[in-house]
């Protein structure tokens, strides 16, 4: 599915990822944990294709393609979905209009016909219920005036609508109460299938109570310093990041 090899990335001339390597197979759920400033968000943004992230070394292959060669919208059409840590508000564009434009550009890329308005609406109404949002939210501007929790639910709703092959959740759990956390987890568990993979970028272990990862990686100072099974998350929760001998520069911000 995804193969990141020895990836080096700079942001505004500062090296953030320093030789990151990660393999994700179809159907797997990977959790990437690490202290603030370790490069977690940089990883999700560079995979989604945000500009301003300069790859200075290494490679990323996604379903046999050179991911770094693809524009952000092409990556989305190929099945990559980024759930934003800070979803953007777009007043004047309804959630419905936005998602329909999005879904149809993805369907077009796959060679499928555009979804007619009625089937689209039916599907949207059904799936928005799964994230406990009122269908009225479909008519509102994208994330316009949504609370933090509503924005995150809306991200999960979009994910369910777009059915990505690789979902990247960038600290989707941060700032959520326990109910919202469970909604996010249910969403991810609904998406899970043997041909779909998920990368959860998170600061805390608590989301992993509801979404059981196949692998847990610790990212520190731009590299993956330790990988393990789901138990590693519990160990981190108990001992913190200190015992992994992460150097001071990275741990100072915890």
């Amino acid at each position: 599915m995804l193969s990141v090899n020895d990836l080096y990335v700079q942001v505004e001339g500062k090296e953030i990822l320093k030789g990151l390597t990660l393999q994700v197979k179809p159907g797997e759920v990977h959790a990437i944990m690490g202290p603030n400033g370790s490069g977690k968000s940089t990883l999700s943004h560079v995979l989604a294709g945000r500009s301003g992230y300069e790859v200075t070394g290494g490679s990323v292959s996604y379903q046999g393609k050179d991911l770094l060669e693809l524009a952000a919208e092409e990556r989305a059409r190929e099945g990559i979905f980024l759930a934003f840590q800070y979803p953007v508000e777009i007043p004047g564009v309804s959630n419905l209009q936005f998602l329909r434009t999005s879904l149809n550009s993805i369907r077009k890329h796959r060679g499928e016909a555009e979804l007619d308005a009625a089937s689209f609406l039916r599907q949207a109404r059904q799936l928005i219920g799964k994230v406990d949002l009122d269908p009225e939210f479909l008519k509102r501007g994208v994330n316009e005036g949504f609370s933090g929790g509503e924005k995150k639910r809306n991200e999960i709703f979009q994910m369910l609508m777009l059915e990505p092959k690789l979902a990247l959740l960038d600290e989707t759990d941060s700032g959520l109460d326990i109910d919202a956390l469970q909604v996010v987890a249910t969403g991810v568990n609904t998406l899970k299938r043997e041909d779909r993979s998920v990368i959860l970028v998170t600061h805390y272990q608590r989301l992993l109570k509801y979404i059981v990862p196949d692998y847990v990686h610790v990212l520190a100072n731009g590299r993956i310093v330790k990988s393990g099974g789901k138990d590693l998350a519990l160990e981190l929760e108990e001992k913190g990041y200190g015992w992994l001998n992460i150097d001071d520069e990275a741990t100072a911000t915890i």
């Binding site: 952000a72 953007v88 004047g92 564009v93 209009q97 999005s102 550009s105 993805i106 777009l162």
Partner: protein, 483 residues
């Protein structure tokens, strides 16, 4: 005034006025002199079958004023960012049209379906044509009976409403405030049509019997290389106490001839009356257009302006609202959609003259390519206008490096117990919003048009009537397709 010209036939006059133009025009004052000549030449063949003497006097007075009015240059403050040079160029091009290269056939003017809906529901439709003649259609609905009017034409007959004349000619020019309005004088001097309308209140004061008046301006094609300049219309409108009305002006131009057109509305709204005023301008790029509206609001009168313009070589709107009695309310909303070399200039003035009046103003623009938007929003709170609330907001979206926006909010406040707010922003599309769209599979171009459209849709949604919203959306879609 021009007895020596009376023997000349109209067709000779046209060729004469171009033929006599030995030198191409260069300065704004040359343009003024040319317009004076045009007006003099035309006055000979004007018939104005009713009230002819009155119109001759109006035109003679306007000519006197015009001759003494210097035309705006870059040093003229209120015309600093809008030049009359495109009109000078159009006049010169028309004068030398004999050797102009013929363009391929002009594009068909696509009339949006939404316009047909407006025509169908209107109680009074007046269509102004290239020849200066106007056609009038009066509906039969109940609301139509609330209208009394007369359509006067320089070229011919006048038409009266079955239930009487409006009898407003005596007020011609009286709503025009003190100030520098050279093209209002041009409008009177070259006047081709004058429509006077009086709206009475419905007996049961219900919204459903609001008369809808639709003015259609458009040029199909006056011929390659010529200047279509016979559309100079004045509308005198009076809403009686408690009357409601809707006035929609639409300009859709097609054709290769440049158009020079002026339209001036003078309206007075008596106590508790309501006017919804819409102005749509989707002109050809070569057009030079001037529009003015001078509105006087009485006690608790309510005026709502909604404008949409895609600009042109020269496109200027002066809009002045006088709130003269307590409780009056004005809402001014306009947006400009500019690409290519199109310009658009809204100069608005809200004259708060009485206490307890309110106004809201929202003007937005999207400017692509080398487009240029100008907004000058003046709010003038007179000394007696205590307890005024006035809010004005201007937001502009620059879509290209060469796009230009000039905005100037002007607040002049002489009362001490007022609430006024104004704001102006000029920005670009939010890069994080563009990325958000892209991360959902939407390509850059579509993302940009989705986001810029959203910016304008907010102002379109302020239009109170659905049919006008539909037309605005249709013209917005057409604009988006050309960006």
């Amino acid at each position: 005034m021009s007895a020596e010209l009376t023997q000349t036939s109209p067709t000779d006059l046209d060729s004469k006025s171009f033929g006599e133009q030995a030198q191409p025009l260069s300065l704004p004052d040359d343009l003024r002199d040319w317009l004076v000549d045009q007006a003099l030449a035309r006055s000979a063949d004007q018939r104005w079958s009713s009230a002819g003497e009155r119109f001759k006097q109006i035109q003679a007075d306007a000519l006197q004023t015009l001759k003494a009015t210097p035309f705006p240059t870059r040093k003229t403050e209120s015309w600093r960012y809008t030049s009359v040079q495109p009109l000078i160029a159009a006049v010169n091009a028309a004068a030398s049209s004999a050797d102009a290269n013929a363009d391929p056939a002009s594009e068909e003017c696509l009339q949006p379906e939404a316009l047909q809906a407006l025509i169908d529901q209107a109680d009074l439709v007046v269509r102004f044509s290239d020849t200066g003649e106007a056609m009038l259609k009066l509906g039969e609905a109940q609301a139509a009976h609330l209208l009394s009017f007369t359509l006067h034409q320089a070229s011919g007959e006048s038409t009266k409403a079955p239930n009487g004349e409006a009898d407003l000619l005596g007020e011609f020019g009286s709503r025009v405030p003190q100030g520098y309005y050279p093209f209002v004088s041009v409008n009177a001097a070259l006047l081709s049509t004058c429509l006077e309308i009086r709206v009475a209140a419905a007996s049961d004061d219900s919204e459903s019997v609001k008369p809808r008046i639709l003015l259609l301006n458009g040029s199909q094609d006056a011929g390659q290389g010529s200047l279509s300049d016979r559309q100079h219309s004045r509308v005198l409108l009076k809403l009686a106490r408690d009357a409601h009305a809707e006035l929609t002006e639409v300009r859709l131009d097609a054709g290769s001839a440049a158009v020079f057109a002026t339209s001036v509305l003078e309206a007075s709204l008596e106590a508790n009356s309501r006017l919804q005023h819409y102005q749509f301008s989707a002109a050809a790029a070569s057009d030079s257009l001037y529009a003015a509206a001078f509105i006087k609001l009485g006690n608790h009168a309510n005026y709502a302006f909604n404008g949409q313009s895609t600009g042109s070589a020269l496109s200027r709107t002066d809009l002045t609202v006088e709130l003269t009695a307590p409780g009056a309310y004005a809402a001014l909303n306009a947006h400009m959609l500019l690409n290519g070399n199109n310009r658009c200039d809204y100069h608005t003035a809200l004259e708060h003259m009485a206490p307890h009046c309110e106004s809201d103003e929202q003007v937005r623009s999207i400017v692509s390519d080398k487009g240029k938007a100008v907004f000058n929003g003046r709010i003038h709170i007179h000394r007696d206008a205590q307890k005024t609330r006035a809010e004005m907001n201007n937001r502009n979206l620059l879509m290209s490096p060469q796009a230009e926006v000039n905005t100037k909010p002007e607040l002049e406040i002489y009362a001490d117990d007022v609430k006024c707010a104004h704001g102006a922003t000029i920005g670009q599309l939010d890069a994080s919003a563009v990325f958000y769209c892209k991360s959902r599979g939407i390509d850059e171009q579509s993302a940009r048009s989705l986001l810029s459209e959203a910016f304008i849709v907010e102002t379109i949604q302020l239009m109170p009537a659905q049919a006008q919203q539909d037309l605005a959306m249709a013209l917005l879609q057409r604009f988006q397709e050309t960006v």
